[in-house]
């Protein structure tokens, strides 16, 4: 680290931010590809654009898990860091992106939506999320957050003729801006107090001691957390979620619930464990000997997260029970899932961070899968989303229903699925830190979850069809994507250790962001 704050070379930039660069270039190229393709036959171009998007995500994924992953030193341009934690979260986001783009091909076709700006927005949404996760500079973090948010706002409003979509998007935009403003206010406060927006420098300044006494830092932390809780959709910052998730195109809902959430959880963990908590103390840096002071910080946010986790799990699960619309039910359930993941953050130990990463990975697979099946059964957006529509579909569409059941069983956290293992890691982490009561209460909310997830399955298999429901066309690509997700869920449910160890390496790398 030079005193000037900048030591910059192109090769270094590529090393750190290669994945992002690939995505920016891909996004720009896609705009031109879209222009070149003639306007009147656009529906078919959905396939081309979809594949190109998926390929560019794949390229970025290759870079981040290949050359990027092998970097021995975490090269820093003061703005971005390429530690394995960020790479892992980015990989989850890219995976969500790949699923989203492949499933979108069928989705857009079934809904006769041939506008390919959809994919360009998707690329930039993914880019924004990744840039956010990889940044160590609060300002950059904010900009990336906005890149992501703006793209997703537009995507949420993509069903132009659907009032629900418009309403949801407007709500999302207004409340999201509100959340972003909180985040920005927190950044400004921190800058005012410390004179820097770089989280590693903030960490060093905080570790010196005097600032810890300053209530302004706490206010700043509270602001940052409030901003992120909006994106993470924790109760009571969840009010926008059901409407937005219900109104948005199904695949975008899936994307928001996984990629955007993964990004928000990613930087929340990063902020906490780099700037505000004692994790640094384990890295052996001489500046961070004053563990005691830093631990004092945890005394502020831990009780807060304790209650947030509990309320989020309860509210998310309880309200999901009363939903008749499957999409809306999944929205509420995604709130509950966020609550489970807060357990891992609250535990603030290796197992907890690893658990969150594992859970995000598993959740991405099962959630994208569930929304993928949902859009196919739907036929056209909103036509067959209620529980009544699902009556007796199990034997009419055996493959789709089986896949749906598998995804839901995984979300319910029953073995032998990745969802069960993920939940096990999260609860184990919390129990290890002595949160036995919270874990016990949380696991009871899982029982509620079991009820409404199984309800969908029994609608599929145990009830006679009440009216004719015709599912949409099942594209080969969508089917391949869904089966891949299902296999992933089974594989990581039976042999989770490989992924868990990678996730563990990833979370340990947070201690090295200096």
């Amino acid at each position: 680290m030079s005193d000037l704050g900048f030591s910059f070379s192109l090769s270094q930039l590529w090393q750190v931010a290669g994945g992002q660069i690939i995505l920016i270039i891909a996004g720009l190229v896609l705009i031109f590809v879209d222009l070149w393709l003639s306007r009147d036959e656009k529906t078919d171009h959905v396939v081309t654009m979809g594949w190109l998007t998926a390929l560019s995500f794949l390229a970025a994924l290759w870079y981040m898990t290949g050359p990027g992953w092998r970097l021995n030193e975490i090269v820093l341009v003061e703005v971005f860091s390429a530690e394995k934690f960020g790479l892992f979260v980015s990989a989850i986001v890219l995976m969500a992106g790949i699923f989203a783009s492949l499933l979108s091909i069928g989705y857009l076709r079934n809904n006769q939506l041939g506008r390919s700006e959809y994919f360009i927005l998707l690329v930039f949404a993914v880019y924004g999320t990744i840039a956010m996760v990889q940044s160590v500079d609060l300002l950059m973090m904010f900009i990336a957050l906005e890149v992501m948010s703006l793209s997703v706002y537009v995507l949420a409003a993509f069903l132009k003729d659907d009032r629900k979509s418009q309403e949801g998007a407007l709500k999302y935009f207004l409340l999201g801006s509100f959340g972003s403003a909180f985040f920005l206010f927190g950044v400004a406060l921190l800058y005012g107090l410390t004179g820097t927006v770089n989280i590693t420098k903030i960490a060093q300044l905080l570790a010196m001691g005097p600032l810890l006494e300053n209530p302004g830092v706490l206010v700043a932390l509270a602001m940052l957390m409030a901003g992120l809780f909006f994106k993470m959709a924790l109760v009571p910052f969840h009010m926008w979620t059901p409407d937005v998730y219900e109104g948005s195109p199904a695949i975008i809902t899936g994307f928001m619930a996984t990629a955007v959430k993964a990004g928000a959880f990613g930087i929340f963990i990063k902020l906490l464990s780099v700037a505000f908590t004692p994790m640094l103390a384990y890295s052996g840096q001489p500046e961070f000997q004053s563990t005691v002071n830093l631990a004092a910080f945890a005394a502020y946010w831990k009780p807060l997260l304790w209650w947030l986790a509990l309320i989020t799990m309860f509210v998310g699960n309880l309200i999901a029970v009363s939903q008749r619309n499957v999409k809306r039910m999944l929205a509420y359930s995604s709130i509950a899932h966020a609550g489970y993941m807060v357990l891992g953050i609250l535990a603030a130990n290796d197992e907890g961070r690893m658990g969150v990463l594992f859970y995000l990975f598993a959740y991405t697979l099962m959630n994208m899968g569930a929304f993928g099946v949902l859009y196919i059964l739907d036929g056209q957006e909103g036509k067959a989303q209620t529980l009544e529509d699902y009556h007796g579909l199990g034997f009419k569409y055996p493959t789709l229903s089986f896949l749906m059941s598998l995804f839901l069983v995984s979300m319910a956290g029953l073995p032998p699925t990745a969802g069960f293992i993920g939940k096990f890691y999260l609860f184990a982490a919390a129990i290890k830190e002595g949160y036995l009561l919270l874990a016990a209460l949380g696991i009871l909310t899982c029982v509620i979850g079991v009820y409404y997830y199984l309800r969908v399955i029994w609608m599929l298999y145990m009830v006679e069809p009440s009216h004719e429901v015709v599912a949409g066309r099942v594209g080969v690509i969508s089917m391949v994507a869904l089966i891949a997700a299902a296999l992933g869920i089974m594989y990581f449910g039976i042999l989770p250790d490989g992924l868990a160890q990678v996730a563990n390496v990833a979370q340990q790398s947070l201690a090295l962001v200096f």
């Binding site: 073995p415 096990f424 184990a428 016990a440 309800r455 250790d497 160890q501």
Partner: protein, 524 residues
């Protein structure tokens, strides 16, 4: 011994699943092919599991046929299987009952045959896995997997109120077992704090010393999970619903094997892991068992529905198993284990028998029948033999089990023994009364006049059960002799908390070996 026989036995049914998936079920021939594959595979599992009998060493107190591989090393989770004298019999019971049950579905399940047989075979794997797992995590995984096929069997192929019954079954079990998972993890971390070893290995966890309050809490959670499954009074309310709504095969498996998982759980996990907690709750559990015995019998008496009657009789019978387990002497515990097997055989047979007339008449109401021993003499005879077994008539298996348990209870507490013994009397009342109303008298309903007697297939799955009834009833030592060392080991594990116990156990040995029953059994 070297071959991983437990893995073979456990996962062989999945092979059948794979085969079945590729058979189309559009035609009747396809359906029959699916049934035959399912039948052949489950019979094969039984034959393979018989191998266990020849290799099982009754002298060993610990576990045999051990298989241990690393599974999730970062959490110390292993793929760890083994058998002792209890699990051994329960595995054999499972592999024995499953093909018979599958044979009973030939005409009972005609819709969605493929899905049904897949569910049955997956269920068999999960049940076997639950009995052989010695790693708490592995056990929990099998325990939970088991719920899903059972839920589907009740919910898809069940009666009118099947969905309500199915989800009630699922949620009751889930509440208990989810809390158990929290406590498993808690126990593992306490063990980790004490020894620095992170492991889910049951045998290591047996040695964990917990603070009293945690012993009580954790035992409470484990006991809740298992008590729901047993089911002990007042957690039994899911059972009548599930039994009545489930198809015959579902009821047989549910009563025959799934309920045993509750008592097995107490034997294997709850009691030896938390002896102090167990001692704390023992009076409550004994009282609840006695209530269950009497209450189950009295409620069974007034049921108009044969199946519900049998379901409530299960509550009563399982009460015996629990009390036998809790008196912690050799008679009680062995009687309890034997009673588990007995209950699997006789109640399984009763459900199968009810299924036989249900298929013919599509009703299970006692009032719809009457005098049917004339059109169905063979059926009536078999039903009578099984009834004798259920009420504990001497020379049948039920007698041995109940006698041993009552003997065990008597050694500990005479009042409890007297109260529990009333269950035997009540059992005779409700079973014989039901038998009388269904089979004797004049044929009150003209629909019953032309009922067909048992056909060959039905005899094929009922006669083995009748044979077992008398095998156990006349030569119980064949079964008991395999349990002695495991049971003694269990008693010493659970009693270890009270200081005088080692001596007591030794004395106990001496006294038990000279009991009249053992002698008479040896003579035969």
């Amino acid at each position: 011994m070297n071959a991983p026989i437990l893995t073979y036995v456990t996962f062989l049914p999945l092979l059948g699943v794979l085969a079945i998936l590729f058979i189309p079920q559009r035609s009747e021939a396809g359906k029959n092919a699916i049934r035959w594959v399912s039948m052949v595979i489950s019979t094969l599992v039984f034959i393979v599991s018989l191998r266990l009998y020849f290799d099982f060493d009754p002298e060993v107190a610990g576990f045999q046929f051990i298989e241990k591989y690393s599974w999730i090393p970062s959490y110390g989770i292993t793929y760890f299987m083994g058998l002792d004298g209890l699990a051994f019999w329960l595995v054999l019971l499972t592999t024995f009952l499953t093909p018979l049950t599958i044979l009973s579905t030939w005409t009972a399940i005609t819709k969605r045959v493929k899905e049904f047989q897949v569910a049955m075979l997956v269920l068999e794997t999960a049940m076997l896995g639950t009995f052989v797992a010695l790693d708490l995590f592995l056990f929990y995984v099998f325990w939970e997997i088991m719920l899903i096929p059972m839920w589907l069997i009740i919910g898809v192929w069940g009666g009118e109120r099947r969905i309500y019954a199915a989800i009630k079954f699922f949620l009751f079990t889930a509440v208990g077992s989810f809390l158990m998972l929290v406590c498993i993890i808690g126990l593992v971390y306490f063990h980790n704090q004490q020894t620095g070893e992170l492991t889910f290995n049951l045998l290591s966890l047996y040695n964990t010393d917990l603070v009293r309050i945690y012993e009580i809490l954790f035992f409470g959670a484990f006991a809740l999970a298992f008590a729901i499954k047993v089911p002990m009074f007042p957690f039994h309310t899911w059972l009548p619903d599930a039994h009545v709504e489930a198809p015959t095969a579902g009821s047989v498996i549910l009563a025959g094997i799934l309920l045993k998982m509750g008592t097995y759980g107490f034997f294997r996990f709850a009691m030896p892991l938390f002896p102090e907690g167990s001692a704390f709750f023992a009076p409550l559990i004994i009282v609840l068992s006695i209530i269950g015995i009497i209450y189950g019998a009295m409620v069974a008496m007034v049921q108009p529905d044969i199946k519900k009657l049998v379901a409530y009789s299960s509550v009563s019978h399982l009460g015996y198993c629990m009390i036998g387990l809790y008196v912690l002497n050799r008679h009680g515990v062995e009687g309890s284990i034997l009673q588990m097997i007995n209950h699997g055989i006789s109640t399984g047979a009763l459900f199968l028998l009810v299924g036989v007339v249900y298929e013919r008449r599509h009703t299970r109401m006692i009032s719809e029948y009457g005098g049917i021993c004339r059109p169905m003499p063979i059926y009536a005879s078999i039903f009578f033999l099984i009834t004798l077994s259920s009420v504990g008539f001497p020379t049948t298996n039920g007698f041995i089990g109940e006698f041993l348990i009552l003997l065990g209870v008597f050694e500990v507490n005479k009042a409890a023994a007297v109260l529990a013994a009333t269950g035997v009397v009540l059992g005779a009342i409700y079973m014989f009364w039901m038998f009388q109303r269904v089979f004797y008298g004049r044929i009150s309903n003209p629909k019953n006049e032309k009922l067909k007697d048992l056909n060959f297939r039905e005899l094929a799955y009922l006669l083995p059960l009748v044979a077992m009834v008398f095998w156990i009833g006349l030569y119980p030592n064949f079964f008991l002799s395999k349990m002695h060392s495991s049971v003694d080991h269990f008693i010493s594990q659970v009693k270890i908390s009270s200081p005088a116990s080692p001596v007591a156990v030794v004395e106990h040995h001496a006294s038990v070996d000279k009991t009249p029953l053992d002698k008479s059994a040896a003579k035969e």
